[in-house]
Amino acid sequence: MDFNDSKEEQAFRDEVRAWLASALPQGWGKTVFEPEDEDERAHFRIDWERKLFEGGWSGISWPTKYGGRGATLVEQGIFAEECARAQAPEGINVIGRNLTATTLIHHGNEAQRERYLPKILAAQEMWCQGFSEPNAGSDLASARCRAEPDGDDFIVNGQKIWTSFAQYSQWCILLARTDQHAPKHKGLSFFLVDMKSPGITIRPLTQISGEKEFNETFFEDVRVPKENLVGELNDGWRIAMTTLAYERGAEDALARQIRFKQELDLLIEKAQEVELGARRAIDDPAIRQRLAQSIVDLELMRMNCLREFSKAIKGETPGPESSLMKLYWSHVAQDMADMAMEVLGPETLLMQEDPDTIARGRFPMAFMQSRAFTIYSGTSEIQRNIIAERVLGLPK
């Protein structure tokens, strides 16, 4: 165990740092920020992903034959840390990189890997996730969206919900029922669906934050070629479990940890500026305790991720243990967002447009956004069931 960089790792870190400094605009994070408009921001993030690819920073731990760097998760971790230090923008193709690609590496065929992986890396194709349905949320295996064989195609009919970034996506990973009579876990298949296919309709949903990141997606007689089936027919549930393990796993969590840490650093900075009457917020012992607790929780979120990385490097595939990651970080981040609302006084309530706002309204916005953390990628209640039954071995 060594948390220090080796000589090679230090060189890699220096290289990342120098590149980020040259790639980000002058004054980034100080006077220059991401676009305010949601749509402009999405395109800004797509452009940033392409820039990362051109710089050779996409797929650091991916095999070289699919366009990756062939390095390890340690380098991936170093890269993430340096992005945090530079306050670099988030990517938008998380589903492509972290879910589709990892699933195809485990369960796809070679033709699928060669076709899709390089375009994910190059940020030429964005992906969305068609898993949840209005009546299949926590009980995902009861999904009713159907795929029926017809010649060389499947014909898909049904509705998906919470499809984040569908409006920017060229492709969708879809979980659909291919056997109506089998037990619910045994009748699902995993497909790759071209979002340009005739019969797909997207309807945006407005979130409590006012943003429109996610959608309802309707499939009406959508033709999906049989070559777009991943793995075996009716083996979709097992494949989807791989997808979900990555969605809940350490690589995803580390990227989030970095965003959360930026927010906490910003909060600590503001607590040193804002006066609560006679003293600065930072001089209030109760506030100091609350800030400290979030620091501890967030730093250990990183340590949890790094420990998982080492297991992955040793060859362990992510499984139900990834629910430990997700359950932990979602509550830690939500608690932090709640706390941030309570330490800077009344002006915390002012949103971005208001001249008296603090930190461009970041804290109330983060508070609203953070409500989703304990719901998406499986609610906390589902994560607890998974941990209890599949990690601790408690009876069903």
Partner: protein
Amino acid sequence: MNFDFNDEQYMFRDTVRDTLAAQFPIDLFRDSGEPVALEGPLWAQLAELGLFGLMVPEDQGGLGLGMVDFALIAEEFGAALVPLTVTDTIAASLILAKYAAAARAENLEKLASGELRVAFAAYEKNGGYDPSQFSTSLGADGSLSGRKLLVAGADRADMLLVVANDAAGEPGLYAVDAKGAGVVATREATLDITGDYHAVSFANAAAERIGGPDAGEFSLDLLATIAALGLAGIGGRMLDTTVAYVKERSQFGQPIGAFQAIKHRCADMAVDVNTARSGGYFAAWAMASADRAERQWAVSMGKAKANRMAVHVMRESLQLHGGMGYTWEMALHFPYRRGRHLEILYGTTEYHNERVLQGTMAQLAAG
């Protein structure tokens, strides 16, 4: 970078775990009562495994390993409620190797073989946790006076390592002959009955300086790290015990572990134990490899998280055992008692939180 232990470290851990499970089961506390009597045979077995020499340099009869190698073992010691005289003595070997003059070499050899028993005398009545506020101090003649609380196994110790201020008010670490003139140990009545603790009075006792403020701080950080790892061990043990119990205990016609109200609480315990381990391991690494600022920051993070985890996990464990959990016979109260001892003696969550915040603010100010 590498964030995992190696195979040798896991194997050593397994050996220690098996030995403790066979030789030092929790039933001993319940059935035999007096912890001092239980310590003797255990001490000999641990010496045989070479554990007292774990961090003693090889040319002085030890294994020449470090804090990271000790981390998993400290966790096992915590889980098995091994007396704190054991961990104090092992911690002392690291302190003496790091700070003491060559004249202490003889001590290291004795430490490595288990012949020398050391107790840390750190905390005081009305002293809190900050060593600069301790009142035990050296007089103009260099002799040490004051009173320390909760010194583990002080009546059988050979050497006491005392955190005290010199005549100029500067904190440091001093070695005192535990059997020397002016040293009186009195057994205390404590919440933790899995070990024996003593108040030790020093009246112009002869003291040898081991090191200045850094040695004092390093010692307290080391004890806090070992406590954090011990708490992770206790948390893991209580989680395992609870999971096993709720699988067996049947009510309403099914194992209570099948109820979501129970499952979800077990899952939350598991998350907490996992994270406390991360904190403890990071603290152990920082003790071995980080500079002073990062070490203090990392240790306090590890200890603060271990404290919160332990309070949560121990409370849930007792609750999920129902009425049986409240019985002496069930023996859950032994780790609970030890857990609160470790939590409170080596720095409360609030104390360590404040150090973490100061560390983070210094990092942010430095850019």
